[in-house]
């Protein structure tokens, strides 16, 4: 019998029942929640007179709508405040293992607080009404986003109706060069396989360069799996995973810890397992990346030039390039390093962890933001990240450079709160989506790593971090 992939092992250990057409009831261990995609699910539960199947599987936090400054003033916008208060009320009614309400010392982005509290563990199934749930795959957990109807289904039954995905292995062999981060690996992968390249697949990331990433880096990589179309990204657990989890608040303790670690070590793809697709990358050839268009696949190495639609033979693709250049306000053939930015955003579930902030701070230490840059927002992923950064003095470095040091939340990744781009403004952003209007109607987003974003803030335009 052929061996099993990590995905197969995770899937098979959670199947409650399987129909003849392969549709399964899959047991869900961890249910993450935020305010934007849960209200209608709780309302459905109430209307049907249902109770949560397992409230102790729920970890919840408001993050999308919460402001990142003037916390003492509360949430100004009435509809946003109502949504956050609705989550408060729903958690009070239905229960949760962990709930950090607005202004709690540990509040933050759901995909940051889950891991840092040890509520995401290897071998788990994890869902959230949020596509970036793929982040948690960094721990060797089967984690993916679901819609609100599925949120309700998990609340009511602790299961999902699901079919097995195909399996893809993305192998990044060798070592990345200086200045090349997990974000650059992710963007380079998306640039090659496209935003639909992973559709229908769960992607396992492997190879020396992936093993070499910290847990924070692995989270960044798995976070972006959804931008390659894959609902789930995975990295097999190893010593780094175990080391990261040890002592975390909700991680197993005592005899359970030893038993858990022994089990986690079995969560590896067998040597003779088969994947449905394998894509290989040479880490050494990956350069710092910058997106130029309105889809994460429209990405180039920092030394590149914005494409010229005249060179594209396929009319669909040519139209796509023309539309993107028009929206982005860019002329064909512009060198990436000549693109000036108006604002810079360092944050989001992709890049707001302590390691990201350290990397950004290191780049700017002793320097000032360019006068032409209107605003640089640094938004830590959680209260815990914020306190750690302040203990290390990173906040002083940011403020000293003319950056703004804010309270945690999703912030300008999707601009549901007051942090947003004005029409036509251009932003170097460490977030995950450069879609039209994502950071504010008419706003123009270029996705980059924290180091590249910090350097752009200092220079006023994109620069190759390797020569900075």
């Amino acid at each position: 019998m052929a061996g099993k992939t990590l995905y197969d092992k995770l899937w098979e250990s959670h199947v409650v029942r399987e129909e003849s057409d392969g549709t399964c009831l899959l047991y869900i261990d961890r249910h993450l929640m935020h305010e934007v995609t849960s209200a209608q699910a709780f309302e459905g539960m109430r209307l049907a007179g249902r109770k949560a199947w397992r409230a102790d599987s729920i970890v919840a936090v408001p993050d999308h709508n919460t402001p990142t400054d003037h916390w003492d003033a509360g949430i100004q916008e009435p509809v946003a405040r109502l949504q956050v208060e609705t989550l408060d009320a729903n958690i009070k009614e239905f229960g949760a293992l962990v709930y950090f309400p607005f202004k709690h010392a540990n509040q933050g982005i759901i995909h940051v607080i889950g891991p840092e509290n040890g509520t995401t563990l290897p071998g788990m199934t994890v869902v959230c009404g949020d596509s970036h749930t793929s982040t948690h795959g960094a721990f060797g957990a089967l984690a993916h986003g679901v819609g609100t109807s599925e949120v309700e289904h998990v609340l009511a039954t602790q299961t999902l109706v699901a079919k097995r995905s195909k399996r893809m292995l993305i192998k990044v062999e060798g070592k990345v060069g200086a200045g090349v981060t997990a974000k650059d690996i992710a963007l380079a992968i998306i640039g090659k396989i496209g935003t639909a390249g992973g559709t229908g697949y769960a992607i396992e990331f492997g190879g020396e360069a992936v093993r070499g990433l910290s847990m924070e880096g692995r989270m960044t990589l798995c976070n972006m799996a959804i931008e390659a179309g894959a609902r789930a990204g995975l990295v097999a657990p190893d010593e780094k995973t175990v080391e990261y989890l040890k002592g975390r608040r909700y991680a197993p303790k005592g005899a359970d810890w030893d038993k858990a670690v022994a089990y986690w070590k079995t969560l590896q793809t067998d040597a003779d397992a088969k994947f449905d697709a394998v894509v290989e990358f040479n880490a050494a050839s990956i350069e710092p990346q910058v997106t130029w268009g309105t889809s994460p696949e429209q990405v180039l190495p920092v030394g590149g030039q914005v494409p010229n639609p005249a060179n594209e033979a396929d009319s669909q693709k040519r139209g796509g390039i023309e539309r993107a250049l028009k929206y982005m306000g860019l002329a064909a053939d512009t060198p990436i390093c000549e693109i000036k930015v108006d604002k810079v955003f360092i944050g989001s579930c992709t890049n707001s962890r302590i390691e990201d902030l350290r990397a950004a701070a290191k780049v700017i230490k002793g320097r000032k933001k360019a006068a032409s840059v209107k605003l640089v927002l640094v938004v830590p992923g959680s209260g815990m990240v914020k306190r750690q950064a302040e203990a290390e003095g990173l906040d002083k470095i940011f403020v000293g450079a003319g950056f703004e040091w804010r309270e945690p939340g999703c912030s300008m990744c999707l601009a549901m709160n007051a942090d947003r781009l004005a029409p036509g403004e251009r932003c170097a952003s460490t977030s995950n989506r450069n879609f039209e209007g994502r950071q504010g109607a008419g706003g123009r987003t270029h996705l980059v790593s924290p180091e590249m974003a910090a350097a752009a803030a200092i220079a006023g335009h994109f620069v190759d971090i390797r020569n900075f």
């Binding site: 409650v16 209200a39 509809v79 946003a80 949504q83 949020d130 993916h144 309700e152 909700y250």
Partner: protein, 215 residues
């Protein structure tokens, strides 16, 4: 959920690839705590030239005349014809809620993003994957013929054009059953509550730390 059986619907073509859920329903409308009322804001930034806000009356908002939804010939369309990777990006179910609330019941595209695809079925929308060649043909026919309609039949899993040509599409038996009958999936799953409980007991015995109540 509303059942879907068949439809002879006017087709609206949206000729661009990678249409993301931020474009389908922009973030400001996600602040609603209701499931309904998103239709007027479907494709808000492409449809109107001002900035939409939740609760806005859209009757007199300035419209972008070149956007398909604003063209009189596509008024009342129930079939959305789209390109590759439709519905990519965020998992927001507000996207299918907006599409359904607008009046679309069927979306035909060469490919869909996974989460969006699944969300459609939960809301009585039938997403149909057709080959790129067929989709190209439908776009051509739709452009050439005002009032172009397609006849979609879920029971026989077929789509028929006005000249009688047809193609068939795939759907899992489970999804077909739920859609044809408008079934509440939670109720169906709870029929297996005993199995879920039995699984849970075995799972807890094997990995008790997954059930730790307190730190």
């Amino acid at each position: 959920m509303k059942a879907f059986k068949q439809l002879n619907g006017l087709v609206c073509p949206l000729d661009r690839a990678n249409v993301d859920t931020d474009a389908i329903i922009p973030k400001q409308f996600l602040k609603s705590i209701k499931r309904s009322g998103f239709g007027p804001y479907l494709f808000d930034e492409w449809r109107y030239s001002d900035t939409g806000e939740p609760g806005m009356d859209c009757t007199n908002r300035p419209r972008r005349k070149d956007f398909v939804l604003n063209q009189p010939r596509y008024k009342g369309a129930q079939v959305l014809l789209a390109r590759d990777n439709f519905g990519c990006g965020s998992s927001r179910e507000h996207a299918p809620w907006a599409i359904e609330d607008y009046g679309f019941q069927v979306i035909i595209a060469p490919s869909f993003a996974d989460i969006f695809f699944g969300n459609c079925y939960k809301n009585g929308i039938l997403p149909i994957v057709a080959s790129p060649e067929i989709v190209d043909q439908l776009f051509r026919e739709c452009a050439a013929t005002e009032g172009y309609r397609l006849r979609v039949d879920l029971e026989t899993q077929t789509v028929r054009n006005p000249s009688g040509e047809w193609f068939s599409f795939d759907i899992t038996p489970h999804r077909k059953h739920c859609l044809l009958n408008g079934l509440d999936e939670i109720g169906l799953s709870l029929q297996h509550a005993d199995e879920i409980r039995a699984f849970e007991a075995r799972h807890k015995a094997a990995q008790p730390w997954l059930f730790a109540l307190l730190a």
